[in-house]
């Protein structure tokens, strides 16, 4: 799931790949509130994952984001 998220951040939101690590937080990724809304839309359209922008705003770092994605991925099966 980390690789999937990383590909989305790099390909769709043009985040430099070296910035995408498990420990990186939203500031490290320069992911502002508008970027979080974009990411929420992309997760829905690309992966069918329903994660709101508010939920994404609450996570601390990529590791928590990946965990949330995995949780929703299982829940939606």
């Amino acid at each position: 799931m980390f690789e999937i998220l990383k590909n989305i951040l790099v390909d769709k939101l043009k985040v430099p790949p070296e910035q995408v690590t498990m420990e990186a937080n939203k500031d490290d990724l320069e992911l502002d509130s508008l970027g979080v809304v974009e990411l929420s839309m992309i997760l829905q359209t690309e992966l069918g994952l329903e994660i709101t922008d508010n939920e994404l705003l609450e996570v601390e770092n990529i590791a928590e984001m990946v965990a949330l994605m995995e949780e929703r991925s299982v829940a939606s099966r």
Binding site: L13, E30, E38, M41
Partner: protein, 405 residues
């Protein structure tokens, strides 16, 4: 306002002639039209345009930055980078609260607006981008330039349709003359070559329908039938001339007059009596403390529409009986709409600086109703005073008077 004396200390150009001053100036001097069939407009009633060749926003601005910018802002930012570098300015060292930004645009980010409207219709509101407004709003170009360079003075966008770029430069001169700013990045930008806007222009009957794109934009020619739409941007770095001299700046030219007016006549047709345009030219001459006989050259609005070119030529013949040499660079570049006035002001600065008037492309047979002298080849001449005319739909007029350093 009289006694205007503002130095142009830096230029930045992104035009259908190319990215940068050098490519843009070489293209207008060459005098060959840049218009071409436009695949992105396939299916539109008119599918020719003048696009900026080789414009790579990811390479010029960085992919992350470019992703969040409508093309009209991308073009302006690249022009602003060239202009600040050309002026030898270090934005990290300037007195940021004294630096203003004034940019003209007719439509702002309508390309983004149109794409997001499509997303709304196709997929519903949940698929509308959160960046719709920050990308589309017309004021964003000045805000983005402020962010890019750290300019914390007055920051505004003006919109007078096809006069926007010239109005922006005039408004910037007012900010300098009133003492509100010490430096202003002023210019115009436009990127409206998308199907909806182009359909609108075509439905108005404003666009050329000539078959051969290369000869479609033909200002003042007997066979002209409309303009060719173009994209582009120009940014000029402006400083009060006395300050520029004291700072030891290289001065490329000076803006010595600005006239602004409204026709108060019709939404698109020029006033046949030219009252508004006359007032603008006279105001610019008054600023410059000059008479009509002092004008040696005019960079005309010269869009290649039947109505504009006839009305403008008749006005010039009447107001400037000394027969200054007239040119319209739109024969080469097409009509950059809200950017045109700024791009042409930059071209006029280069004309005065180099002493070479660029030719009007595609002028094969001067309209017999037109009695002005139009340059058809690059013409060397020393110029002490020249005018740049810009007239917008809505009857909004802006005229700049430009002199050498």
């Amino acid at each position: 306002m009289t006694g205007l004396d503002v130095a142009v200390i830096g230029l930045g150009l992104v035009t259908p002639g190319g990215v940068g001053i050098e490519a843009s100036w070489a293209a207008v001097q060459k005098g060959t039209s840049t218009a071409a069939h436009d695949p992105e407009l396939a299916g539109n009633p008119v599918a020719i345009s003048c696009r900026v060749p080789g414009f790579d926003p990811d390479a010029l601005l960085g992919a992350r930055r470019a992703l969040r910018l409508d093309r009209y802002v991308q073009l302006a930012l690249v022009a602003a980078h060239e202009a600040t570098a050309d002026a030898g300015l270090d934005p990290s060292a300037w007195d940021d609260e004294r630096v203003g930004v004034v940019i003209g645009t007719a439509g702002g980010g309508l390309r983004t607006f149109e794409a997001q409207q499509q997303a709304l219709l196709d997929q519903g509101p949940s698929q509308v981008s959160p960046l719709l407004l920050p990308m589309y709003l017309p004021n964003m170009v000045a805000g983005q330039i402020a962010i890019e360079f750290g300019a914390r003075g007055p920051n505004l966008v003006v919109s007078t349709a096809c006069a926007s770029g010239a109005t922006a430069i005039g408004a910037a001169c007012d900010l300098l003359n009133s003492g509100r700013c010490d430096l202003v990045l002023a210019g115009g930008t436009e990127a409206l070559l998308e199907p909806l806007t182009m359909a609108g222009f075509a439905r108005m009957g404003a666009l050329s329908r000539l078959e051969d794109p290369g000869t479609a934009s033909r200002p003042f020619d007997a066979d002209r039938d409309g303009f060719v739409a173009a994209e582009g941007a120009a940014v000029l770095v402006l400083q009060r001339a006395a300050d520029a001299r004291a700072d030891g700046r290289r001065i490329r030219g000076r803006i010595v007059g600005y006239g602004a007016s409204a026709d108060a006549y019709h939404i698109t047709k020029p006033d046949p009596e030219g009252r508004g345009a006359t007032a603008a030219i006279q105001a610019a001459l008054s600023d410059a403390d000059a008479s009509a006989d002092d004008v040696q050259h005019v960079n005309a609005h010269g869009t290649s529409t039947p109505l504009n070119d006839l009305a403008e030529a008749q006005l010039l013949a009447k107001l400037l009986p000394g027969r200054p040499l007239v040119t319209s660079t739109k024969g080469v570049t097409g009509h950059m709409l809200g950017a045109a006035g700024a791009v042409e002001a930059a071209f006029l600065v280069l004309t005065v600086e180099t002493g070479t008037v660029p030719p009007t492309a595609n002028l094969a047979n001067l309209d017999p109703q037109i009695d002005i002298d139009v340059a058809t080849a690059p013409t060397p001449m020393r110029i002490d005073l020249a005018l740049s005319n810009s007239f917008g739909f809505g009857g909004q007029n802006a005229v700049l008077a430009i002199a050498p350093a």
